[in-house]
């Protein structure tokens, strides 16, 4: 627009809005705690200050303090004080709707008119003279979607339309309009005005310059007394805009006020702007405007039209902001957990592979004392995908030892453990992907009738599918026989398998070795990325001739029959020392993390504590043992190695190839005939000649250096 002479239409730079995150936090809090579904309008305050930078305009800002306080908030945000030079407060009103439809259905024209009417009233009643900030009254409509944590909003800065519009006679930097002396005096006077807490936030004022070049800053209500002297009189206002050719929005209603109140046709105005906290008269503008007063303005009751809805990047659409990342508790929990692990990696373990932990899928067979603790430990390590299998219900004694359950889960006969466990995990960490499967694991030596056969086979297939769709299987049941089928299925597919078993006061935690056949053409091996490459490079043959590490059953000389009578390990949890399960569960998970960080994964050789092997101790997580046996009475723990047995009823090549040949029929036979497995593997023969092997703790302590149990 031309600066001088031609009398072009005076164009104002619109106000721009800025909403601090704190405003939305407080609005959400008020909605949830105080207002509920009440959608009556809420009086709010906006804050602005004169422009303080030659290239950037100031905004009308909403902060947490803009809203009435929520007494439930614990924060220590102080209520705003008047007299803050950087926060001139301006009254506004907020219409917050309860639905998106009602947000779009608001009568925007009507609301704008209503606010314009308030400004008009204030002009005529003289309120402006007392509190000039009401000239910049604003309107905000919003819809707070507290499920998605997104906020839709739209500002309006009502400006009374002058009809015909005001024309601009002249506009130039203030430093060019005043003489040097006058400019200095004006600067000083304005700085004083801005530094006094009484006037610092009064955004409309008068600047009078006498013939002696001395300037004075006065309140609007003193206008009459400024009339007499032959002095220059400027209508001044805090201008948020920085543009050299346009004044800011507050001038619109200021002109309307001047014209309606004092009937002036020519107005000299000062757009007051600052730089680094001081008046800047080269940034500030002085202009002269011509106003044609229309008939309607004398009549109080005729409210002029108004404009002022804020554009969003040039378009007439509302704005939207999504704050889920900082307000959604689930997102905050996820981000906190991630950062915790990253902190561990940064400070202590730079080679920690968080990606593997985040992506691995763990299957937990058993949701009892071991299952609950293992699940919790896995989540602590960042594992997000956990499936629990258990066919039992939560009993009254369970919550004490099974850390995912509470009394509520025991009522009315008790919820299914698998479901209750999943619920509990989700309460601890909502982002966990947990699934519960209520299913019994078919066991050899527990014959089934022909009516049950189909459902048992179905369970076998289901178990097979579950194992196939997970990367790691934890055997956490409390009977030996229930471990047999999972062990076989895992050996068949080379899944990482970890067993934990409890005796009365001792425990065993071990990782199963790989299966007898390294890779098969028709089975997809679901391994984490870093391990699958290693798989491809290893030799195809891994027969029993080459020593692979054993499974839980390799140490047995008897087939896993119903062992209720002769229990050393696999005790019912009610008769184990309570400290065992947490210890064993923790070790099981730490063992898994060790496997995941070992370059050979499931194929890793066993290491034992105090070993003199050089290479192993370079791994940042330490050694990777095969078996850990612990004893509470001795407060002792030993690492042991056991290689696979050619006669193992679960993982030897004979058994696995029989399974591959005959599938479910083979399983059924093993279930129904307890000695079938022994006969198949030749254990029947072996039993006649083998001595029962007894693990004697006292002897073993002295020989702790070369533990190697072989059959």
């Amino acid at each position: 627009m031309a600066k001088e002479g031609s009398g072009s239409i005076l164009q104002f730079a619109p106000f721009q809005s800025s909403v601090d995150e704190g405003f939305w936090h407080r609005l959400s809090s008020l909605k949830l705690n105080k207002f509920g579904i009440d959608d009556s309008p809420i009086p709010i305050s906006g804050f602005f200050a004169p422009c303080s930078h030659p290239q950037v305009s100031n905004y009308l800002t909403l902060l947490a303090e803009s809203l009435p306080s929520d007494s439930n908030e614990e924060s220590s945000i102080p209520a705003f004080n008047r007299g803050n030079r950087n926060r001139c407060s301006v009254p506004g009103i907020l219409y917050n709707t309860n639905t998106m439809e009602s947000f779009h259905g608001l009568d925007k024209q009507g609301l704008l008119k209503a606010e314009a009417k308030k400004i008009w009233e204030d002009i005529h009643s003289g309120k402006v003279l007392e509190d000039s900030a009401v000239l910049s009254r604003f309107l905000l409509i919003s819809f707070a979607d507290l499920k998605k944590w997104s906020f839709h909003y739209w500002f309006a800065f009502p400006a009374l339309i002058l009809d015909p519009p005001a024309t601009l006679v002249d506009l130039r930097p203030a430093s060019q309009w005043f003489t040097l002396e006058e400019a200095e005096s004006v600067s000083t006077a304005c700085n004083e005005w801005r530094n006094s807490s009484v006037t610092a936030d009064v955004p409309f004022f008068l600047v009078s310059v006498g013939s002696d070049s001395r300037a004075a800053v006065r309140h609007l209500k003193d206008w009459e007394t400024c009339q007499d002297d032959g002095q220059k009189l400027l209508f001044a206002f805090y201008d948020p805009c920085h543009l050299p050719n346009n004044p800011g929005w507050p001038l619109r209603n200021f002109l309307a006020f001047i014209c309606a109140r004092w009937n002036l046709k020519t107005v000299h105005f000062l757009c007051y702007r600052e730089n680094r906290g001081f008046a800047d008269l080269s940034l500030s503008l002085v202009g002269e405007a011509l106003i044609t007063i229309s008939q309607g303005w004398r009549e109080h009751q005729c409210v002029p039209n108004a404009v002022g809805w804020e554009l969003n990047k040039g378009r007439k659409v509302p704005r939207c902001i999504n704050l889920a990342k900082s307000m959604d508790p689930t997102r905050l929990a996820i981000s906190a957990a991630d950062l915790n692990l990253k902190l561990m990696r940064w400070r202590a373990l730079p080679s920690l592979n968080l990606d593997i932990l985040f992506s691995i899928k763990c299957l937990l067979l058993g949701a009892g004392t071991l299952g609950c603790q293992v699940a919790r430990m896995l989540m602590a390590w960042g594992v997000r995908k956990i499936t629990l299998v258990d066919n039992g219900r939560v009993a009254m004694s369970n919550p004490l030892r099974q850390s995912l359950y509470t009394l509520d889960d025991c009522l009315n006969g008790g919820d299914f453990k698998a479901t209750a466990a999943v619920r509990s995990l989700q309460r601890i960490f909502p982002a966990v992907v947990a699934e519960g499967v209520v299913m019994a694991i078919p066991m050899p030596g527990h014959p089934v009738s022909s009516q049950e056969e189909n459902s048992v086979l179905e369970d076998c297939r289901r178990l097979n599918d579950l194992i196939g769709s997970h990367d790691v299987i934890f055997l956490l049941t409390d009977t030996r026989e229930s471990r047999w089928l999972p062990t076989l299925l895992c050996a068949n597919t080379n899944k990482i398998t970890i067993t934990a078993a409890l005796g009365f006061d001792s425990f065993l935690v071990m990782r199963h070795g790989p299966g007898p056949f390294n890779s098969t053409p028709d089975l997809k091996v679901e391994m984490p990325n870093s391990l699958s490459d290693v798989l491809d490079n290893l030799a195809l043959t891994n027969t029993d001739g080459k020593q692979r590490l054993g499974c839980y059953f390799c140490n047995d000389v008897v087939a896993p029959t119903d062992s209720t009578s002769n229990r050393t390990l696999d005790q019912q949890c009610t008769v184990t020392r309570p400290g065992l399960a947490p210890i064993a569960s923790a070790l099981a998970v730490e063992l898994l993390v060790g496997i995941l960080h070992h370059p050979y994964g499931i194929f890793a050789e066993a290491e034992i504590a105090n070993s003199n092997n050089g290479g192993s101790s370079e791994l940042p997580l330490g050694i990777l043992p095969h078996q850990i046996r612990g004893s509470l009475p001795h407060f002792q723990q030993m690492t042991l190695v056991g290689h696979s047995s050619n006669s193992c009823t679960a993982c030897c090549s004979t058994v696995v190839s029989e399974y591959r040949k005959r599938g479910m029929q083979f399983i059924l036979q093993a279930i129904n005939h307890p000695t079938f497995l022994e006969d198949l593997t030749g254990l029947t023969e072996l039993m006649r000649s083998a001595n029962t092997f007894q693990l004697d703790w006292d002897d073993e302590i002295e020989d702790a250096d070369d533990e190697c149990i072989e059959l």
Binding site: I9, Q11, A13, S18, R252, V317
Partner: protein, 232 residues
């Protein structure tokens, strides 16, 4: 009085407060490129031992980006889930007296708070960043503006690890430079130099200044030399 050799690199809450006020004073008088820090007092927490007034230093609205103009005539995507409302045809939202701007400055701002950590007994730098319209910036957007944040190269930034945690007074998530390495590098700063062993009183007086000279670099707030050399 504790020997400087046995010093563990931490400060007491009282020393923090004294140091903070003196730091703010020096900053205001010697660092005119930036607005001054202000001390924000906080209500007492009766369950903590310290009887002194608690608070933190605040420096807000610092522009951290070069202004770049976004041409609003581009067909940029609308805010997610937003449709043009039907009332736009009926009303004249713009009249002749409204200036329609053809460009739109998008600037990023940052607020910095220096808060004392009772757990680690060191100062912690909290920060948050936002656009001109108030939208908060996410960590990756902040790291773009302050590249020193994510670099692991220099000794100062080796200690820089940004986490998101609840601001202890404002109860909202802010980003902070994790303080677990602070006491170590503060010890190094004072004892690792070849200027001889300073007295412990001197160390504590200069603590905040030295701390900030290292930490501030990570977020692009440099201390002018004259501030570091000023021993008043």
């Amino acid at each position: 009085m504790m020997d400087v050799f046995n010093w563990d690199g931490t400060v007491s809450a009282k020393d923090f407060r004294i140091g903070a006020l003196s730091f703010a004073q020096k900053w205001e008088s010697l660092n005119s490129a930036f607005p001054p820090w202000s001390w924000v007092p906080c209500p007492k927490h009766p369950w903590l031992a310290s009887p002194e007034e608690e608070g933190y230093l605040s420096l807000e609205n610092i522009c951290i980006s070069r202004p770049y103009e976004v041409d609003i005539d581009q067909n940029s995507q609308t805010d997610p889930g937003e449709e043009e409302t039907s009332c736009s045809e009926k009303e004249d939202d713009i009249d002749d007296a409204t200036l329609v701007q053809s460009n739109h400055h998008e600037l990023h701002y940052c607020d910095f708070h220096i808060v004392y950590s009772y757990t680690f007994r060191v100062p912690v730098l909290y920060l948050r960043a936002y656009c001109s319209d108030g939208r908060p910036l996410l960590l990756d957007e902040i790291e773009k503006e302050l590249p020193a944040c994510s670099s692991k190269e220099s000794p100062e930034t080796k200690w820089a690890f940004i986490t998101q945690e609840e601001h202890p007074y404002l109860k909202r998530p802010w980003y902070k430079l994790h303080p677990c390495g602070t006491s170590e590098f503060m010890k190094l700063l004072f004892l690792g130099g070849d200027t001889g062993q300073p007295k412990l009183e001197v160390v504590l007086e200069l603590y905040l200044l030295s701390w900030f000279s290292a930490v501030g670099q990570v977020v692009g707030l440099r201390i002018p030399c004259k501030m570091l050399n000023d021993r008043r």
